[in-house]
Symmetry: C2
Subunit: 471 residues, 2 copies
């Protein structure tokens, strides 16, 4: 008699149908490798349920057979959390077929979407109702709500709207034993016991499988201003952020820091892009929105920036005069990562520190890198409004890329030691997955790791959900 693990695939076929259990190498290839090509696994089968009930039955079948399960959304993660291990024993559970928008309640300003709905589809449904779902990421065309919640995704509007966690009112979860917890509440206030949804958000599929969520919607912006300011150093960028927050309040939706090096790198590979304030060491890119259609927003922003320049906070500033100009300013920022890739490999860090600590952190870390790796190129940019920097280090000129990459661990420690010393986080918005599991064990206080393990044991005592990720 075959054992339970050997027969689990046929049981999965009975649940979702043969067409939705993939086992042929060509069929599973897109599911067992991450999109950046950094993580490669194998799998017993990829199973594609279409309903919460099917997810529940799949989880039950796997639990009965003691087979571990890797939940996967759009497979756009940065840390390998959705890639199975090399054992070939794990089942990949793709939520991609769960793409129903179950409802949109305009008066309550909420939308209920299944896990496999893409972020762009949620944004679009909200826009059609005259509302805004503010989460916004580079991968929004293919990343899914389930993945956004499981990783507590960040993005460019966190300054005003918060992370994914802050946009969730309720969730539906399949637990490690296959039972379904219906926590799909659409309430802005509910103090009836422990807020269990918080456990599943950001836990990267290690505590339960998010199958649907109730998300908050907001008044859609009717006017928008995009501006670029030049500053002499990072501490002036921090001062500018503070001045703009006071002058513009909640209208300030995005405040991105871009180093002069990063901006010129972007222009090197996109020479058609503008260089409206040439020759400065640091820039801030601002997005300012207002839901009122007749707000005198441009005048308000102009006045605030003029005051900042007059007061010596900023050196110069410019406001986009058209939607196209605004898009080209954003393209300067958005093309940095691609431009870096074209320049060659680099060692990336997704870090946060208190905003007040950023100037000293940037200076100290640059000096330490210059000491240890003379000539190494720093490309620094990110969401200053959230204290979140993408801090990337490329090889010095003349140093072979692979030889530099072989020192990744040393570079990571140099950067992360300073992050932690400044009270910061070694993963601001990308999560842990496989990539930073060892770093997490190194930097996190033992007591906090112990508490995390106790929570894991309480919700997934047999360790069937996404083993080898996070903890």
């Amino acid at each position: 008699m075959p054992n339970a693990a050997a027969t689990v695939v046929s049981r999965l076929r009975a649940i979702v149908g043969d067409a939705n259990v993939l086992t042929a190498p060509a069929d599973v290839e897109a599911y067992v490798n991450d999109w950046r090509g950094r993580y490669h696994g194998t799998t017993r089968a990829v199973v594609r349920p279409a309903t919460t009930q099917q997810v529940s039955e799949v989880m039950t079948a796997c639990a009965d057979a003691s087979v571990a399960l890797v939940p996967q959304g759009g497979n756009t993660g940065m840390c390998g959390a959705a890639t199975p291990d090399a054992s070939g024993e794990e089942v990949v559970l793709s939520l991609a077929r769960m793409r129903a928008i179950r409802g949109l309640d305009a008066a309550n300003a909420t939308i209920t979407a299944e896990a496999g709905v893409t972020l762009a589809a949620v944004q679009e449904a909200a826009a059609q109702a005259g509302l805004l779902f503010p989460l916004s990421l580079g991968s929004e065309g293919s990343c899914t709500i389930g993945g956004n919640l499981s990783t507590n995704a960040g993005g460019t509007a966190v300054l005003r709207y918060g992370n994914a966690r802050d946009l969730v009112l309720g969730i539906e979860v399949v637990l490690a034993d296959g039972r379904i917890w219906n926590g799909l509440r659409a309430l802005r206030k509910d103090n009836t016991g422990y807020d269990l949804k918080q456990l599943f958000i950001g836990s990267e599929g290690t505590l339960g499988i998010v199958t649907a969520a109730v998300l908050k919607l907001f008044a859609a912006p009717r006017t928008r201003v995009t501006a670029l300011a030049a500053v002499v150093d990072v501490s002036h960028a921090v001062a500018l952020l503070r001045a703009m927050k006071q002058a513009l309040g909640d209208r300030l939706v995005g405040f991105e820091l871009v180093s002069g090096v990063a901006l010129q790198l972007s222009r090197k590979h996109h020479p058609d892009l503008p260089d409206p304030l040439p020759g400065h060491p640091w820039y801030a890119l601002l997005q300012i929105d207002d839901s009122a259609s007749d707000a005198k927003l441009a005048a308000l922003v102009e006045g605030a920036l003029a005051e900042a320049v007059g007061g010596g906070v900023a050196v110069d500033a410019t406001i986009a005069q058209s939607h196209e100009q605004a898009q080209r300013l954003w393209a300067l920022r958005d093309n940095i990562s691609e431009a870096q890739r074209r320049e060659g490999p680099n060692i990336k860090h997704d870090i946060s520190v208190p905003i007040s600590a950023i100037p000293a952190f940037v200076d100290d870390t640059a000096a330490a890198i210059a000491d240890a790796f003379a000539g190494a190129q720093l490309v620094v940019f990110g969401h200053l409004g959230d204290g979140n920097l993408h801090y990337n280090v490329a090889a010095p000129p003349g140093v072979e890329a692979q030889s530099f990459l072989s020192r990744t661990r040393q570079v990571n420690r140099l950067v992360h030691d300073r992050v932690v010393a400044a009270g910061g986080s070694i993963s601001a918005e990308h999560g842990i997955g496989q990539l930073k599991r060892e770093e997490l064990a190194h930097y996190k206080a033992p007591l906090e790791l112990e508490l995390m393990r106790r929570v894991k044991a309480a919700l997934d005592p047999r360790g069937l959900l996404n083993p080898g990720k996070v903890l």
Copy 2:
């Protein structure tokens, strides 16, 4: 040899000093009764530590002796969560001496306060730095940050700023075994594993003792408009809310619903208060803030309200022309509870439902109450912007109050059945404590109660923290 429980008080004296261990009945009286006089307990001792280290040692001493502990902040709760039981075995841990503001970081827009700091003191410290801490409650002069976080307090600015949970970046917690978890991070983005702080926020002292917190601050408002609008029914109030959200965006900080009955009751006991829009069945009280000092806020609000009246959404509206007029409009709202108390006892409910479901809920529940208790008086008001109503029922004229109160359970079930049928919460902002423990067990799904118990067992396996509360 005396057992450990018998000697625990002397051990507590050694930790905090004799003066901070209270046992005389007159000394403990203020700690063993709740402020509304509904809950009465007894205690082995009230212990008043001044530092996190002392809290840790107190917890350790109690754990060694298997003595249960009841954490207490300002003792302003509505549900008896901070009152010990009648056994005389429990120790009350008052955080009132932990009142240091450990730091305020204006550039990071954060404040770090110990648990015993009053909400008003945090607001004041923020204001002195030109910033805003937006949590605002009736009891803000005496309630404490520790209690605010432990109950996930709500209040009048949730529409814009969220509940207490949404205002927290980090916490420090003494665990059930006495160890200190330092989670005092001041980061807006941190995706390094499970977000453990969420477990302790809103768990009413049953999972750990919050000793300090890092809180978010915001740009201070520089302009404010207060307005009153009259509407024909609750569905028009919901439509007005939606229109104002679109027109005013994040400037809309408060949107309170007040029934004509509630407003007239308030005026009956405060005849000096204005009646600017007399004779309507329902009112909305709006607060609109802007951080820009030169915002044309009054004109914007006037335009939006004129459009609402022109479009038949509101019947009439008025804008306060001075700070004093604004205060008097708010006094109409703020005096409702006191006016009700003067009229006699009533059966209160702190409920929420999706905003879109409020009109039908209000109509259906009023009809059901009229059926079951002909002539019963409804006083309905609350935070419509959050879907949160204070739904209070007083005895019909001529019915003796005590006889009506004896039917509290029946009234509760009548109201709460309809709340739950509408997808709502039987405790929107006040929590569970002792008051609603039985209601929670009745209405919460067994699976959710089981998950809550598993979390409790993971963090407080011996049940030493605030037993008999929540679960």
